[in-house]
């Protein structure tokens, strides 16, 4: 069983220690919910997991091997949905999603189904600038389904979603986990996820503030 692990992770943002000594282990099919007040480092941890941010100390390990050994393989097995939807205003919904699929080296075959599953099939030809905030978020989430990836990193995925879409997101996450996929999500509001584990960032921040970096 390949575990996705974080070992003794420290994160420094702008000369401030955000969290220290953070560890986690995520088996296939597992879900990790990140909780904590604003500024406790939920987004930073997700960016560290994605490889966008280098941890100040510690290591990310996938199946016993550090992800820094082969960052391209790590990028190929993850999806990251951040605060920004990354929707191009002049491209249509389909064009946006097809380009994202190609960016991951995949074909655009999965695009129509992904749009349908997030209820965007009626909007396929609509330009990105005409979408509402919730529709943009759904388009960003449709990336998860357009191309397969083992690890989903979701930063506040429920923001702007209506109740039905939130339910849909919960169903897709459950389905992804049933297939052996992993999910890490940060959240303030309740997400319809049966979490196998909850990571409270505040626990690691408390230790961090005791010993300033500089």
């Amino acid at each position: 069983m390949t575990l996705f692990e974080g070992r003794e992770l420290d994160c420094v943002r702008g000369e401030r220690l955000v969290f220290a000594g953070l560890g986690f282990a995520l088996p296939p099919g597992g879900a990790l919910l990140l909780e904590g007040p604003n500024g406790s480092g939920k987004s930073s941890l997700l960016r560290v997991m994605a490889g966008l941010l280098k941890p100040a100390a510690g290591a990310l390990v996938w199946g016993g091997r550090a992800v820094t050994e082969d960052p391209e393989a790590h990028r190929a097995r993850l999806h990251y949905v951040g605060h920004l939807e990354a929707v191009k205003p002049v491209l249509s919904v389909t064009e946006n999603l097809s380009y994202w699929a190609k960016l991951r080296g995949a074909s655009a075959d999965g695009v129509p189904e992904a749009l349908e599953r997030f209820g965007l099939d009626q909007l396929a030809g609509v330009a990105g600038r005409l979408l509402s905030a919730g529709q943009k978020r759904r388009l960003a989430l449709a990336r998860l389904l357009a191309t397969p990836a083992d690890l989903w990193l979701l930063d506040e995925p429920g923001v702007g979603l209506d109740v039905a879409s939130l339910q849909r997101l919960g169903q897709e996450i459950a389905r992804h986990r049933k297939g052996g996929g992993r999910v890490v999500a940060s959240t303030h509001s309740a997400l319809p996820i049966e979490a196998s584990e909850t990571l409270s960032l505040a626990d690691f921040a408390a230790r961090a503030s005791a010993e300033p970096v500089w």
Binding site: K54, A73, R75, G82, K88, Y99, R104
Partner: protein, 221 residues
């Protein structure tokens, strides 16, 4: 390579839908080049003599004008994160963006060049070399410019910083662009100058995407 073509196709499609951006660059090139006679006087011999320099400097400024939007839009709307998370090497994706940038600025500039040469009554024998020089020089400008555009992401006054970073690096390209045409018009061989421009392009082709990608990773941290 799917990622390379995906980015290239997207950027070309974006440029086509927002064709005013590229159009403004060409318009700037023409207006800038047409400005010089007002400053140096309407002496036909003088204007024909300085035409190569005017064309090269105007092209440089026009490319400069277009550099800021190379990465900034993708940086601000979050696409740059997705690009950096693509399994393809970031250097390759940067190269695709630079190719798209050149196709929508350098190539139209190249096509507008004969118009300026005609305007200045530049001797017709110089025109083939002028086009060769522009064809070799403008991709190098785009490549070097990408480094500046990537380095200034996230800076407060990025638009002002880019010229300061990029213009000094462009000087050698400028010298050999103008040198080639001057040599041709003086009856000498333009070959050494053209070879130098080719060498610059070949050196920038691997080095510039590599440096830009490093700067982009830094900007995303």
């Amino acid at each position: 390579m799917t990622a390379f073509y995906g980015i290239l196709a997207r950027d070309l499609r974006l440029a086509l839908r927002q064709w005013m951006d590229a159009g403004l660059v060409i318009l700037f090139f023409l207006v800038c080049a047409a400005l010089f006679p007002f400053a140096v006087g309407p002496e036909p011999n003088l204007l024909a003599r300085i035409a190569p320099g005017i064309i090269a400097v105007s092209a440089l400024l026009a490319v400069l004008l277009s550099l800021e939007r190379l990465f900034l839009a993708d940086y601000e709307d979050g696409n740059l994160e997705l690009i950096a998370l693509s399994p393809a090497p970031l250097e390759l994706v940067v190269l695709a963006k630079v190719v798209a940038h050149w196709s929508t600025t350098g190539l139209p500039l190249l096509l507008a060049t004969p118009l300026i040469a005609l305007l200045y009554n530049m001797p017709a024998d110089g025109l083939p070399v002028l086009l060769v020089v522009m064809a070799l020089g403008t991709p190098t400008l785009s490549l070097i410019g990408a480094i500046g555009a990537a380095l200034t992401l996230g800076a407060r006054r990025g638009g002002v910083l880019i010229p300061l970073l990029v213009l000094p690096l462009w000087i050698s390209v400028l010298i050999f662009m103008v040198g080639a045409i001057d040599a041709e018009l003086a009856g000498l061989s333009a070959r050494p100058h053209v070879l130098f421009l080719g060498a610059f392009l070949l050196a920038a082709l691997p080095l510039a995407p590599w440096a830009s990608a490093a700067a982009l990773r830094q900007a995303l941290e």
